[in-house]
Every structure is written in structure tokens, then in C-alpha cells.
Symmetry: C2
Subunit: 151 residues, 2 copies
């Protein structure tokens, strides 16, 4: 079984190669523009009420995947699904960004961690009641200094 997905827009960011790119959106204040193809613009109504949005996108510069990877934040091999590594069986990325404003089909957002020209797959509102959890254990990430994100 397979499914076909088609981008609904494109993400413009200041990052043109992976080595410049923040490791996660929470470590970034970078401004980007999410441009939605015109046939989807009506679906953006009401989005401005939300301060944060989930962005789903294609890791378009990734290729192949291995079940053991060395994350950017770590120095030993980890199971792929215990990491956010971009090389995955289905190369779908997920980030939470802050919505600054909308101008027609363009969303100006803060905290981008995607490469420039990243294909956009979906936008979902970030709703703490659905998306935020307390009393969380963060596995191997907890042993790594989050300061290393702040580049």
C-alpha cells in the first residue's frame, strides 16, 4: 500500500544548507514565510486566532535512511525513531512555529528550522490541550544540554 502526497505550498527560510539550520524550531528565532498555493487559501481562515501552528513538510534534501543514526545532539548511535533525524522511511518533518501574521496566502512565522524551499504538506493549529503534555520523560535528550540547541 502506498499513498501519494502533494505539497500545498512552499516554505521560505533563511537557511540554504543543513549546516546553518537550527536543530529545532524552539532553538530558532529565524523568520520565514509559508506560502500556500492559491487553491488552499480559503482554508487559512481563522488561523490568525492561533499564536502557534504545527507545520508538516517534506525533508526534501534527505535521502535514504538507516535504523541507527547519530543525532546532531548526541555522540552515539540511537534508534531512528527515538530521534528527530531528517532521514526517515517517510521523510516528513514536524515543527511548531509562531504565527506572526497572515497576508493573504503568506504566513509570516518565527522559529523556522526548515531549509529554504521546503515543500509544505499541512498546517494544523497548535492547541495545548491536544499537543502539550506534563510529566514527560525525554530519554537520551534529557542527558544532553539543551544549550547546544541555541546556535
Amino acid at each position: 500500500m502506498e499513498y501519494i502526497i502533494r505539497p500545498i505550498g512552499i516554505i521560505h527560510s533563511p537557511f540554504t544548507n543543513a549546516s546553518q539550520t537550527p536543530i529545532q524550531s524552539s532553538g530558532s528565532e529565524a523568520i520565514g514565510q509559508i506560502e500556500i498555493h492559491s487553491e488552499y487559501v480559503d482554508g487559512l481562515q481563522d488561523l490568525e486566532g492561533f499564536s502557534h501552528i504545527h507545520v508538516l513538510y517534506v525533508f526534501h534534501c534527505s535521502s535514504g535512511c538507516s535504523m541507527k543514526v547519530k543525532p546532531f545532539l548526541d555522540d552515539q548511535l540511537r534508534g531512528l525513531f527515538a530521534t528527530r533525524h531528517p532521514c526517515r522511511p517517510n521523510p516528513i518533518g514536524l515543527s511548531v512555529v509562531r504565527l506572526i501574521r497572515r497576508r493573504k496566502n503568506i504566513l509570516e512565522v518565527a522559529g523556522v528550522d526548515m531549509l529554504d524551499d521546503t515543500p509544505l504538506l499541512d498546517i494544523k493549529p497548535y492547541v495545548p490541550d491536544f499537543d502539550s503534555r506534563a510529566n514527560v520523560r525525554s530519554g537520551w535528550y534529557a542527558t544532553r544540554s539543551i544549550q547546544r540547541l541555541r546556535r
Copy 2:
């Protein structure tokens, strides 16, 4: 441009039709099993250190999409991307569930809100530093009683 995605496993849940299914995982204590195809089992190493995981999956019972939808929690039309409605241009679902335990290629999880036999696309660890945000505005959701989720 289009991309092909292939399920990496299947999600077993108690819910066999949409009307029984919790609206979001945060409103559910339902137990489910995520079964990962054997070729991906090595990628699950280290996952047990995480109490919560993001699950990406296909809304396999959805078809078509409209740019204006009436969410389950609301009584007026909203822009699709300001909702979590399952009928989307790319029918990809996103939920946070609690990881109870792993047995080889089976993850037992709590808080499922997917239909039984949902195709699994990806698993990512839930890391509050990446995924949780404070000072959030929740748009039209904020005006709806979250109690309506608790069915």
C-alpha cells in the same frame, strides 16, 4: 511534484468507527498497540526512555477535502487549516500518545484517538523543549469547552 509514502506499521485501537473515536488523544485513555513492520524494529531502540511520542499516520477513512469545515467541537464553518479535521489535502494525522511499554516491534500506548487499522507513517519522540510552547493563543478552540472532549 509528488511524493510517495508507505506505511511502516499499523495502529490497533478499540475504535472501529469514527463516531466512537475520541476527538483528540488528550481526551482519551484508550489503550492501543502500534505494530511496526519488522524491517524497522531496530529504529525503536532508545524509544523506551521517552514517556510520550508523536505518531504520524494516514487518515485512511477520510476522502476529499473542503477548505471550510465544521469541526466536531464547533457549530460554525472554519478554515480547514485552523482545525484538526481529518479530511485534508494530505490526510496526515498527528497525535501525542503515552508510551506504556515496548515488546519487540509492538508499542503499547495510552491515549489513542485513531481508528483501528490506521496506517502508521512515523514515530518521533515528544521532547518538551521542541514541542511544547507557553503563552499560547488557541483561537476558536479557546471559546469551546474542553469538557466536550471528554467523551
